[in-house]
Symmetry: C2
Subunit: 505 residues, 2 copies
């Protein structure tokens, strides 16, 4: 077998094992009987270990060395070279980070998450702080190796690179600062536009059975097939919504609250956006490294496009309100399209990221980014995190954090060791704005299509330009190809200001 | 690491992989979106291959050789020696049967099953026959190797040994002939006892929602926990009911027919019996070879005990009829315990095995056993199967087979290459009769317990005597330890005649 084919045969097993892990993880969230958890831990542990062994074996290393030689490399086309490049990136991390360090980080993260859960409930930062500090010390060691492997200029750049290949803190700082400066006055303006109490109709009771029908209608709308005999998806119910699977079997979950039907509605659209991406990776890339997302941020751009740009548009509400009334036996018969549109776009100065609206959300992320950046540049110490956090929330969002549970301890990311992950959430908004601007050139009437329920051409644009590219390009290269631009927050700001002006006047 | 521990560490991975295959198979039957089937085929293919590699690696072979040396073997206790013995049996089969032969059989079985499906629908034995003949030719080659590995005296003994270790066709012939001779007059007597039309109330409509509640009540009764926060089981819905899983995560499925509530009722009890066995293998045997069933027949004895001996007893109906009426809003209010008991025990001269009652069922199996036995002894040719089949159905069951679809082509087993499997079904009845007789000595009032809903002591007897023994003994050794007897059909016949006399007079 040729060197390249041999590498791909090995990768195929790792990818398949990964796809098994996805389904076993899904089952653990959805259907496992409670006594089965410890066994599932052992099953997932073994599968993870097998995947790790496959992707870091000395044989694979030798094959990669061969494939990278001039003689072999010149035989490969662009896609094949990309596959070797992506696999090498992964291989080097797996091989060069000592197993003891990986284990130590996993152990400390498990400990930190446990203590975080307890101390968050008791608003006890002091007890959590040394655990976080210890984890960060270990992460710095990992970061130093990552810096070398990923050729990242700084520690924090190396962490970012895991989630957004080749993105840097300098590029992000620049656009995030611009974004922040534009968002702050928007929050100011629209948080005063309406009183929340005007939207009490949003808590009218919608029984779970009806909400399940709403989910199906939404999936049908976005052409995420969960019902036909050609369906490649399904919707189940979990505490926290997520998307998982591989190509022809990509599943989403949602959570139904009878007095907050919009929670599930937007979860389904959000996860549905992720699912469309995963279902439409290039077919030729199946079981190959490039048959994957290019980054967490681009993944998030797809979910946020469907959830926010489409799902919170007046045009979508125009289309969907009659369906909603049909399913709910006219629970919202007295509500106008304008009222509903305002309700799902209301802006509030908020403290909790996961409850934030479209305008404030990025500010929550920018705060976390700035803190992470300064932490790894030694400009902020772990002990200072609460005060820095509270200061920024006051300055950017105008809210007073009264305790660390609603402040610096609200997210699990830092306790889990996911440093460098947060920026991707806001990058998703920025990429989404840039993609939208490019799409509008091809489909200037896209909102008319939304209003008439014709999602086909919109989906097709996303599939052709983003999904089918898989991981052929790093995120900024993909951006360049689609939009002709580098990272740029202006299109997102333009989209937001235009929309909000139209909705709230 | 000591040789034995090293072997167990390797086996642990194979057992865990097997438990992953179980859940991935379950998901394929229960929840997979249709487009996901081909991917699932690749996932299961890889997992099976990995398990095969683990159980047939040269390293494992060397370790087994060492463990079997006098020096090592003398260090091992009874359980440890059994583990080495069981693993050796498995290893030798995997290693000594050439991969090409295994592949050829798999290919031919796939082909034969496909053609069987088509030709069965068209009642076309002639087209199916050469495919079956080809499969049997390949199986004979496999059987010759099995004979050597399993030290079986004949080809057919070798096939039986796969499902019932150390059971032989001679032993089975003897008890099956006895059983057959006792069953034929019973069928004659009780098939005339009542008219089927008397039981038309059994097709009263019971909506699926109510049947789901019946399932839960049945699982609660047999203490197969599917609902508490300590549950280790669950009930889902598939075309054909089955049981799968491992230790703390053992799941059953059923199929609901609105106009045949008893179908699911007895499926749940049957699969529940299997599930209790699998949940109660010895805890110390988890991830070890002896943490498993001793044979297919003993497995079947556990399902048939719960389904038939318990579930079709007048005492169970006495207990359960009020529950049934409560769940179904008195759908069976006018039906007496005697009527319902007769209905679930009616005897019919039947042609189709899977629809057969408790009296005729073993006759269906005995016919298949006699045919398989004579086939592999070259006393019957593949071309003669239909005529031999029809003759035996006429002689033992008194029915005239009008075409091969309702005759020799009704089961998938032969097309699938599962020769030697059928005897286990009737052995399950025979073992069950022997176990029951032993249990009655300890719990002479067991039917009173059934009537008052106290399954605890009965379950405990099964767990202690059968389940917790795992695969520590071959089936007949287990029988000997529990009952002091070798294989013997008399207790089963005694149980049947006594029950039928009580029910039908």
């Amino acid at each position: 077998m040729a060197v390249y084919d041999e590498i791909m045969a090995k990768y195929r097993e790792a990818a398949l094992t990964g796809s098994v892990i996805a389904i076993m993880g899904w089952d653990m969230e959805c259907y496992i009987p409670p006594r089965g958890y410890p066994l599932r831990g052992e099953q997932l542990g073994l599968l993870g270990q097998m995947r790790q062994r496959m992707l870091s074996s000395p044989e694979l290393g030798k094959l990669l060395d061969k494939a990278e030689s001039k003689a072999e490399s010149s035989k490969l086309n662009e896609v094949q070279q990309r596959n070797i490049y992506l696999l090498r990136r992964q291989y080097d991390i797996m091989v060069k980070i000592p197993e003891e360090l990986t284990m130590a980080i996993a152990r400390q993260a498990t400990k930190a998450v446990n203590i975080w859960k307890q101390t968050k409930a008791k608003n006890d930062w002091k007890t959590f702080q040394p655990e976080l500090a210890e984890l960060i010390t270990l992460l710095r060691k990992r970061g130093e190796i990552l810096m070398e492997v990923r050729q990242a200029p700084t520690l924090y750049d190396a962490f970012i690179d895991v989630f957004e290949p080749k993105m840097t803190q300098d590029k992000i700082s620049k656009v995030f600062t611009e974004l922040r400066n534009d968002l702050i006055p928007l929050v100011d303006k629209y948080s005063k536009a309406v009183k929340s109490s005007d939207f009490s109709f949003m808590s009218r009771k919608v029984p779970v059975e009806q909400q399940r029908k709403i989910s199906t209608a939404l999936c049908d709308y976005i052409q995420y097939d969960t019902t036909s005999n050609q369906a490649g998806g399904r919707v189940d119910e979990t505490e926290h919504p997520f998307t998982t699977g591989y190509y022809d079997d990509v599943r989403i979950t949602t959570h139904y609250y009878e007095e907050n039907f919009a929670a599930s509605l937007y979860s389904v659209l959000h996860e549905g956006g992720h699912a469309l991406y995963e279902q439409n990776y290039p077919p030729e890339g199946k079981f190959q490294p490039w048959g994957d997302a290019t980054s967490y941020g681009v993944h998030e751009s797809q979910s946020r496009f469907v959830e926010n740009m489409l799902g919170r548009s007046k045009e979508f509400i125009t289309y969907f309100l009659p369906t909603l009334n049909k399913i709910t036996n006219n629970t919202f018969k007295d509500i106008s399209v304008d009222q509903m549109t305002q309700a799902v776009n209301k802006v509030e100065r908020s403290k909790i990221r996961i409850e934030a609206d479209e305008v404030t959300y990025s500010l929550h992320i920018i705060i976390r980014f700035e803190i992470e950046r300064d932490l790894f540049a030694n400009k902020v110490d772990v002990t200072e995190l609460p005060s820095v956090w509270n200061e920024k929330y006051d300055k950017y969002l105008g809210v007073e954090i009264r305790n660390d549970s609603e402040g610096v301890m609200q997210d699990t990311h830092w306790a889990s060791g996911y440093h460098g992950y947060f920026p991707s959430y806001a990058l998703g908004n920025i990429y989404g704005g840039q993609f939208l601007a490019a799409m509008e050139k091809k489909l200037p009437n896209w909102l008319d299509l939304v209003a008439s329920g014709e999602f086909g051409p919109i989906k097709q644009w996303m599939v052709t330009n983003v999904h089918l590219k898989g991981d052929l390009y790093n995120p900024e290269d993909l951006l360049q190809r689609i939009t002709g631009e580098t990272l740029n927050a202006k299109p997102f700001i333009y989209y937001l200001t235009t929309k909000y002006k139209n909705i709230f006047g």
